[in-house]
Point group: C4
Chain length 275, copies 4
C-alpha cells in the first residue's frame, strides 16, 4: 500500500504521466499557483498596490510557500519511484540536486532563510524572483519543447562558437571606439569597460542613443562595426534555423519507394553520418 | 429562377468564383471602396482636412455604409449556396457567425449603433477602425496567402512555445532590471510593470532610449539579456523559415526515379511521419 | 566592314561579352568613371570641398557627360547587333526604352535639359542622383546577381503578400496608436498619417525615440504591435532564405543512384510540381 | 636530436597536434596569457585602476611580451617541421608572412618599436590592441570553426554581392535624405557624407535618434528606405542560413537504399553539380 500511495503521489505531481481528472485538477492548480505567484511578485512592486494589498500579499505568499513546501516534500518522497532516482536514500538526494529539484527548492528556500536568519526584506524580494524559474515548468508540457531543446543541444558547439565570435567582436569594437572617441568625449567614452555598453547596444541594433560618436573616425568605425555585426549576428539565427529544419526533416525522414513493377514498396533509409 | 439569381449573386460577391467581366467589375469596386474607406478614416484625423472636407467625409461614410450593408445582406442571403452553409435558416446564421460574416458586420454595425443608441462621436470613430479588418480580404485573392497561412497553422505549436519563451524572458528581464535600477532611478524604473516597457523595447531591439540603465549592474544585466534575446528572438524567425521550406518542398515533393534498365520510371513518394 | 565595326563596338560596351585586353580596359575605365561620378556628386555637397574644387567639379562633370553621351550613342547605334533588338530602326527605339537604355539616358539627360531649358541648379544636382542608378551595372558583372534576382523573381508573389501584410500591420498599428495617444500628446500623435512614422520606426525596430507613448494603453498596444511585428517581419526573411536554398539545391539537384548489383547508375530526377 | 627537439617544440606550440599533459599545460598557459593580456589592455583604460596598478600593468606587459617573443621565436624556428614551410630558410620566411605568423608578430612588435624608436605612449596603447587579434586563435580549437569558415568561403561571392547591394542602398539613401532634409536642417544633414551616418544607423535598424528627419518628404523617403532595407539586409542572413544547411546536409549526405527483394543495400550518392 505504501508503494501504491507513493506511485499515485508521483503521478499526481508529474502531469505528463497522469491522466485522471484528479491528476489534471491538481496540475492545473499548481500551474495557476505558479502564475499567480509571478503576478504577485510583479504587482507588489507597484507602490499603490503594495500599500493597499499589503496583508493580502503577505498571506498569499505564506500560503503559497506552504503549498509549494508540501509539493516539494511529496516530490522528494515519491522521487524514488522514478527509475533515475531508484535508491531509497541516495536517489532522493540525487533528485534534490537535479535541475527540477533545485528549482523547486529555490522557490521556497528564501522564505525559510528569512524566517530563520532574518534576511533583509529587500533581499527576500529579490530572492523571490527565483520563483520565476518555475515558469519554465510551463514549457515542459508543450510537445515543441523537446524539439527546441534538441535544436539548442545538437547545435550547441556551433552556437558556442558564434557566441565567442560575438564576444570578440564586442571587445574589439569597444576598444576601437574607446580610442576613437575618448579624446573628444572623455566623460562619455571614459574607458573600454564603459565603451562595452556602447558596443553591445550598437551591435544588437538596440541603439538607445545615450552614447553617440561625434568624431568622423568614430562614426566610420561604428559604420564598419555595425555592418560586420549584421553578418556575425546572422550566425546564431542561421544555426537555429538550420537546426530546426534538421529536426523537422528528421521527424519525417523515412521515405518509402513504391515499385510499380512488382507492386512492393521498400524503405529509403537516411543514415546520418555526423562527423 | 430564384436559385439562379441567388447563385449569380453568390458568385458576384465571391470574386474567386466569378470570371465574367461584370463579376470582376463589382469586385474591383468593392476593393476600391474598402481601400478608400481606410484612407478616409486615416485622412479624417488630419485637423486641416477634417475641417475642410467635413461634409464630403460624412456623405462618403453614409454611402459606404449603405453599399456595405447591401453587400452584407446579399452575402447572407446567398450564403446557403455555399455547401458549408447549406441549411436555409441555420446555414445563414452560421455564416453570420463565421469570421468572414463577422468582419463584414463589424464594418457597418458601429454606424447603426450610433444612429440608434446615439454613440459618442469619438467612440464611433474608434469603432470605424474595425472597417480596417476588411483589408485582410485583399490578401484572400493572393495565391501565396494559403501557403503563409499553412506555415503559421502547421508550425502553430512551435510558434506558441517561442511566444511563451519570449514572454518568460521579458518577465524575468524586467524583474531583474527593476531590482538593478529601482534604487538609482526610482521614478523611471518605478515598478516591475513599468519596467516591462523597458524589457520589451530592449529585447525587440527597438531601443527608444526613454529608459536607460545607469548602474553598472543594470548595464551588465541588460547586456546579458540583449544577447540572450538574440537567440530567443531567432526562434520564431527560424520556425517560420523552416515552415516555408517545408511548404516549398511539399509542393514539389514527388520524385520520379527513372530506371535505365527497364526504361520505366516510378514515383518516390515521401511519407510524412509526424509524431 | 560596317557590321564588323558595329559588332566590335557592341562587344566593347558589353564587358560580359568581350575578352580582349582592350575590351577590359574600356570597361574598367567606364566603371571607374561611374564610381568617380558618384563620389563627385557626394563630395560636392561638402561645403568646404564645394568651394575649393568648384572648377574641378564643373569640368569633371562636363567631361563625364561627354563620355557618357558618346557611350550612350554608340550603345544605341550598336544595339541592333543584339538579337533582342534586331530591327534596324525599331530595335534601337526598343533598346532606348529598355531598363538598360533608360538608366544610361537618365545619367546624361539632366545636363542637357539644364543647358537647353535652364534648369534650376539645385534641381540639376538632385537629378544628377539618377547617375547613381548606373551603380547597379556594377552588380551585373557578378555571377551571384542572377541567383539573387532569381530568388526575388520566383518568390515575388510570396514577397508581395508579405509586403501587403506589413503595410496592413503598419496602418492598423498607427490607427490604434493614434487613438491611444492623441489625447495625451495631441501635438506628437497629431493625426494617423503622423503616427504612421511612429509605426514604421517601431515595427522596423529602428526606434529613433522622437515619438514615445506615455499612456499605459499606448505602451501595452506598442508592446503587442512590436511582438507581432517580429513574426510579420520574419516573413520576408524566411521567404528569401527558403528561396536561396531552393536555388542552391536546384544547382546541384540531380542525384545519381549507383546500383552495386549491376554496376550501372541511373539518375534520380526531381520533378518540380509548382502549383 | 635536433630534429626531435624541433618536432617536440612544434607540437608543443600547436595544441591541435599534441596530446600529452605537458602540451596541454603549455597551451592552456598561452590561452590564459592571451585572455589576461586582453583584460589588462581593457582594464588599464579605467582611470582609477590605471593609477593604482600602474607598476603591475607595466611588469605584466613586460613579462607577457618576453613570453610571447620566446613563443614567436620558437614557432618560427620550428615552423620548417610543417610541410607547408619545409625549406630551412625560405620556409621560415614564408611562415613569418603567413596570417598566423603576422598576428603573432603584431602582438609583440609595438613594444620593441616603442623601446627603439621611442613611440608615443598613446600610440603604443592603441597598437597593443593588435594583441586582440590573437583572440581569434581561441576559435581555432573549436570544431565548428571549420564549418563556419566553410559557410563564409563557399558563399563568398553571394555575400560580396549582398555587401555591394547594401552599400549602393546606403549611398542612394543618404543622397535622397540629404536633398530631402538639407534645407530644413542645414546643420544636421549638412552634406551627403554626413548623411551617410544617418543612412547606416537607420538601415541597420540601430536608430540612435541623433539625426531625425522633420520634413514629410524626408519621413516618407525614410519609410520607403527602411522597408527596402528589411529585404536587402535579409540577404546576408538568408545566404548564411542556406550555407549552414548545405554544410549540415553535406555532412550526412550519404543515403542507403535497402532493397527488400534481394536483402542487399546500396548507397544513394549525391553528386554536386555546382555551375
Amino acid at each position: 500500500m505504501y508503494h501504491a500511495t507513493r506511485k499515485k503521489v508521483h503521478i499526481l505531481l508529474h502531469p505528463e504521466l497522469g491522466e485522471t481528472k484528479w491528476d489534471k485538477t491538481v496540475n492545473a492548480f499548481i500551474i495557476f499557483l505558479i502564475i499567480s505567484n509571478v503576478l504577485v511578485v510583479i504587482l507588489e512592486t507597484v507602490p499603490s498596490l503594495h500599500d493597499k494589498y499589503l496583508t493580502f500579499f503577505y498571506y498569499f505568499d505564506l500560503i503559497s510557500v506552504i503549498i509549494f513546501t508540501i509539493e516539494y516534500v511529496l516530490r522528494v518522497w515519491s522521487s524514488d519511484h522514478d527509475p533515475r532516482y531508484k535508491h531509497t536514500f541516495f536517489g532522493r538526494i540525487k533528485y534534490m540536486f537535479s535541475a527540477e529539484g533545485l528549482i523547486d527548492l529555490l522557490a521556497i528556500l528564501p522564505f525559510y532563510v528569512h524566517v530563520i536568519v532574518g534576511l533583509d526584506l529587500r533581499m527576500l524580494r529579490i530572492l523571490r524572483l527565483l520563483r520565476f524559474l518555475r515558469l519554465f515548468r510551463l514549457t515542459a508540457y508543450m510537445k515543441s519543447a523537446k524539439m527546441i531543446r534538441n535544436v539548442f543541444v545538437k547545435r550547441a558547439s556551433d552556437l558556442k562558437l558564434s557566441v565567442v565570435l560575438i564576444l570578440i567582436l564586442i571587445i574589439i569594437a569597444s576598444s576601437i571606439m574607446y580610442f576613437a572617441e575618448h579624446t573628444a568625449q572623455p566623460t562619455v567614452f571614459s574607458s573600454i569597460p564603459a565603451t562595452l555598453w556602447y558596443a553591445i547596444v550598437t551591435l544588437t541594433t538596440v541603439g538607445f542613443g545615450d552614447m553617440i560618436p561625434v568624431t568622423i573616425i568614430g562614426k566610420v568605425m561604428t559604420g564598419v562595426i555595425m555592418l560586420s555585426g549584421v553578418a556575425i549576428f546572422a550566425l546564431p539565427a542561421g544555426i537555429i534555423t538550420a537546426g530546426f529544419l534538421e529536426e523537422v526533416q528528421h521527424l519525417r525522414g523515412k521515405k518509402t519507394i513504391k515499385c510499380p513493377h512488382c507492386g512492393e514498396s521498400f524503405h529509403l533509409e537516411q543514415q546520418h553520418h555526423e562527423h
